[in-house]
Amino acid sequence: MPRIKSQLPEVEEKIPNPYLPLPAKIILMKRETHDCFLIRLDIKTKYEPGQFFQVSLPLIGEAPISVASYSPDYLDLNIREVGNVTNALAKLKKGDTLYIRGPYGKGYPMEKFFGKDLILVGGGSGVAPLKGIISYVEKHKQNFGNVSLFFGFRTPDDILFKDDIKQWSKAYQMHLTVDSNPKKVKLACDVCFITNVVEKAKLDNDNTVVFVCGPPVMMNITIGYLKAKGFKEDQIYISTERLMQCALGICGHCMIHGKYTCLDGPVFRFDEISKYKE
């Protein structure tokens, strides 16, 4: 029978299934804190800092996880045990297989920031996507000016990437805080909110971009302080969290007013979504 022409766009005979994930092997499994761990996957896909992958385990489900690395040879995912899928992922070992599809979304448009100073403000597991930026900066060091890091965690036990932080402290201006110190351990960092440090810090808003990622409250307060220091909304990039199920811009869960977090985000320039209250 000849192919009947319809109103639908012409499609190839075999449509690649956008929902079907591919298996990926775990080459490194590292416990970061009591509830956070890092999975390194043997994947050669090209991705950008700020993008995310849909990670799934059959029988359990799928979850969106943002990338925490920048490398052509592997993919790092920093995961917090907070839901069904992430709790199950925590039980995997090196050599196990999980399923993955992606990368999805718009990452940080790093090439736009060549020649600028960078300020990274991260709270808790929000530091993970920013780690991708740092990896990128390390590979393109000559293209960026000063890099300042402001990372805050709940308690000393929650501090992520401890080894990396030691390295970063040498290379960049590093500000590290913990919200509280319940075990009264000896600390090399301040006990306060990271937002307080941002408030007090002398920041030059000229030729600078700021990346903020963390819990919604922390992002709101940080942005308030930044604005008070004269930063404009188009100098601030935030990474948003939403429930994502298809990651293809259909299922609707991640919509922030008219924008799909999975297509237009998860990284937004703040002026794009600042008028929305959600």
Binding site: N84, L243, G252
Partner: protein, 321 residues
């Protein structure tokens, strides 16, 4: 122009049924589109309570299976018959256009496309609004069909809308007659009493009148289930009793429920009923338009008709100053 005589319509439909799956509006407990078993039950002019979207965007769709430690897509049955849908109203046809945009334009959804490709859409032009909830004449609906039937005297005038429709007419040529009759512009539209007067609702997001509507809402999600355009869905894994094999499925979802925006850890982004209620209206009348140039809403009125408290957002929007 072509026509089908009213008297020969039952024969035509019976003939279609012989080799195709015929779907038509049928009055059962409620009115809905069903696979026809008895031609006499078909009511072409019936404006169904339930939409026709379940035939393309299914309530439950298995996306892939996990069996014996392997992921696979369920085999597509090769012997599926061609499907002929008759009695689709202009609002139904335009809703199919909206869903085509979502499932076939940027992302090619193989499950939707498979069902859509094997279907021929035969429309039926309403002669009058069904009830006071129809507001299609204010929604700028276009032509989107393979064939369209216009009732006129003792016949249905037939308009061909696509190559697919033309081939279909050629196959059943004996039922179609040439005629000198022609369609006037007023034959193509029906004037509804309810009209949405606002073209741009963006400035009314914080209007105090919303509260009156939200206070009547139970968040029961009937509006979304009955909407022929709404396309949001959930994806979840369903495993067997032995916890060995699983199916990853997608189900219809509703933005009116809190769980729709609940992330791991428990945070709900659209916590208030107010935010969820407005999200649906704004998605229908603004967000979709910003992306695709047309409203998602087609003015079929099903969401008002099926609402337990008959929340008439059209009147309310008209009142907003």
């Amino acid at each position: 122009m072509l026509k089908i005589n009213k008297l020969s319509l039952p024969d035509f439909l019976t003939d279609i049924m012989r080799y195709n799956e015929l779907v038509a509006p049928i009055k059962t407990d409620e009115s809905r589109f069903e696979v026809v078993k008895d031609v006499t039950k078909i009511q072409l002019d019936l404006h169904t309570y339930f939409p026709a979207k379940k035939f393309f965007f299914k309530k439950h769709q298995t996306l892939y299976e996990y069996k014996n430690n392997k992921l696979s897509v369920p085999e597509i049955q090769p012997d599926k018959k061609q499907r002929v849908m008759v009695g689709l109203k202009r609002c139904d046809l335009n809703s199919i256009k909206r869903q085509d945009i979502m499932f076939t334009k940027d992302t090619k959804d193989p499950y939707y496309i498979e069902e859509r490709e094997r279907t021929i859409l035969i429309g039926y032009q309403c002669k009058a609004p069904v009830d006071e909830y129809c507001f299609c004449s204010s929604m700028d609906l276009g032509d989107y069909y393979d064939l369209m039937l216009y009732e006129k005297d003792d016949a249905y005038l037939v308009e061909i809308g696509s190559e697919k429709g033309r081939n279909f007419v050629d196959r059943y040529r004996k039922y179609f007659w040439d005629t000198d009759a022609f369609l006037r512009p007023e034959d193509r539209r029906v004037e509804t009493n309810l009209q949405l007067n606002k073209k741009d609702i963006s400035q009314y997001y914080d209007h105090p009148l919303w509260k009156k509507l939200v206070d009547q809402c139970f968040s029961c999600a009937a509006c979304v289930t009955l909407c022929p355009s709404c396309y949001c869905f959930d994806i979840y894994d369903e495993c067997d009793a032995k916890l060995c094999n699983s199916e990853t499925k997608r189900n219809w979802a509703s933005c009116q429920l809190q769980c729709f925006t609940k992330v791991a850890g428990g945070h709900i982004f659209r916590q208030t009923r107010d935010a969820r209620f407005k999200h649906r209206i704004y998605h229908q009348l603004q967000y979709f338009k910003e992306r695709h140039g047309i409203n998602l809403c087609t003015g079929c009125g099903r969401c008002i008709r099926g609402c337990p408290t008959r929340i008439n957002f059209v009147n309310a929007l008209n009142e907003m100053q």
